[in-house]
């Protein structure tokens, strides 16, 4: 009989600490921020009058992507000042997602709750600060007692708006990123285990061993899928940040 033991969740997503309270997740996060910083520092040192090559091309593609696809779509022209912030969030989240499919490392740093939650808290602080800066106290009153709804509906809509702004947005922002990356990681683990169990099965039915090709094919497909998911989640995280900042600055639309 096939024995398939799924390891407990702590074994799947945990490593031994490298030093005290510095594990592989922290290492990936540090590497992600360092790589992003280095790419953009190198790109910034090139002469801006010469046609861009190499690293600078990459960096400019990133900036253009953020400007065209995220800032212009969510905040319009006056939001262009937010490009650096959104760009750093995008690069960091993407570089944290990518190790989920890089062999040997095989762990998205965003697959642990700490990093998504911390990013969501930063975003929450940012858009609430922007809201108070642009609208003063009417940011809060307009949220609790919305002007453009019938009076009878105002308490209900105000409550929903308040809850969604203060609690649900950062929560769903963090949980979306975390759960997507963790789900992808668990799928990869599951199909790795299935391939392993079928290939090394101690059984007399020899048909089982060649059948390990099937989960392996699925594993390859899921790895390709994770490339897409890693990018898409970074994009969604960034665009939602843009939407929240835009809504906080101009709550009327």
């Amino acid at each position: 009989m096939l024995a398939l033991e799924f390891p407990p969740i702590n074994e799947v997503i945990r490593w031994q600490d490298l030093f005290t309270s510095f594990n592989k997740i922290a290492m990936i996060a540090c590497a992600a921020s360092l790589i992003g910083i280095v790419i953009y520092l190198i790109a910034a040192r090139r002469d801006p009058m010469v046609a861009p090559t190499g690293v600078r091309n990459l960096a400019e593609t990133g900036v253009e992507f953020i400007e065209d696809q995220i800032v212009m779509q969510t905040m319009g022209k006056e939001g262009l000042g937010w490009t650096p912030f959104l760009l750093s969030i995008f690069i960091f989240v993407y570089l944290c997602n990518v190790p989920g499919i890089i062999p040997i490392i095989y762990m998205p740093a965003t697959g642990r709750m700490a990093i998504p939650l911390f990013l969501a808290v930063i975003v929450w602080l940012t858009y609430n600060t922007v809201g108070f800066k642009h609208n003063g106290i009417s940011y809060l009153t307009g949220m609790l007692w919305p002007r453009n709804v019938p009076v009878a509906m105002r308490p209900l809509v105000g409550l929903i708006e308040f809850l969604s702004n203060i609690l649900l947005r950062p929560f769903s922002l963090a949980v979306r990123l975390f759960a997507n990356m963790l789900a992808g990681h668990m799928l990869l683990v599951t199909f790795c285990l299935l391939t392993n169990a079928l290939f090394f099965a101690e059984t007399k039915q020899l048909i089982l061993r060649p059948m390990s090709v099937l989960p392996f094919a699925m594993l390859l497909f899921l790895t390709a899928f994770e490339v897409l998911v890693g990018f898409l989640q970074a994009y969604i995280f960034t665009i939602l940040t843009g939407v929240y900042i835009g809504l906080a600055a101009h709550p009327e639309h």
Binding site: I9, Q73, V175, A179, L182, I239
Partner: protein, 90 residues
């Protein structure tokens, strides 16, 4: 055959095992039920978005952005179900 024999000659479950089994069943149901609504919802969102893009290809960029936003909001429910599944089942 040996697996069938194993099923028949089962030792009675302890209370702890029973608890674990119930948690596993609950986790399976939690994720399965949480996936139904968002599945339908995402299908609807993407279907309508494709319809809009086919009717008006010049608006495709805007539609795509909004579609991703809609997917992200819809998907959150399924993901909460997944988190519950992790918390309960593993």
């Amino acid at each position: 055959m040996e697996s069938l024999a194993g099923l028949i000659a089962q030792t009675p479950l302890t209370a702890d095992d029973q608890k674990k089994a119930n948690a596993a069943i609950g986790a399976g149901f939690a994720y399965g039920l949480a996936a139904i609504g968002p599945g339908i919802g995402i299908g609807y969102v993407v279907g309508k978005a494709i319809e809009a893009m086919a009717r008006q290809p010049e608006a495709a960029g805007m539609v795509r952005t909004t579609m991703f936003l809609g997917i992200a909001f819809t998907e959150a429910l399924a993901l909460i179900g997944f988190v519950v599944f992790i918390l309960l089942g593993l």
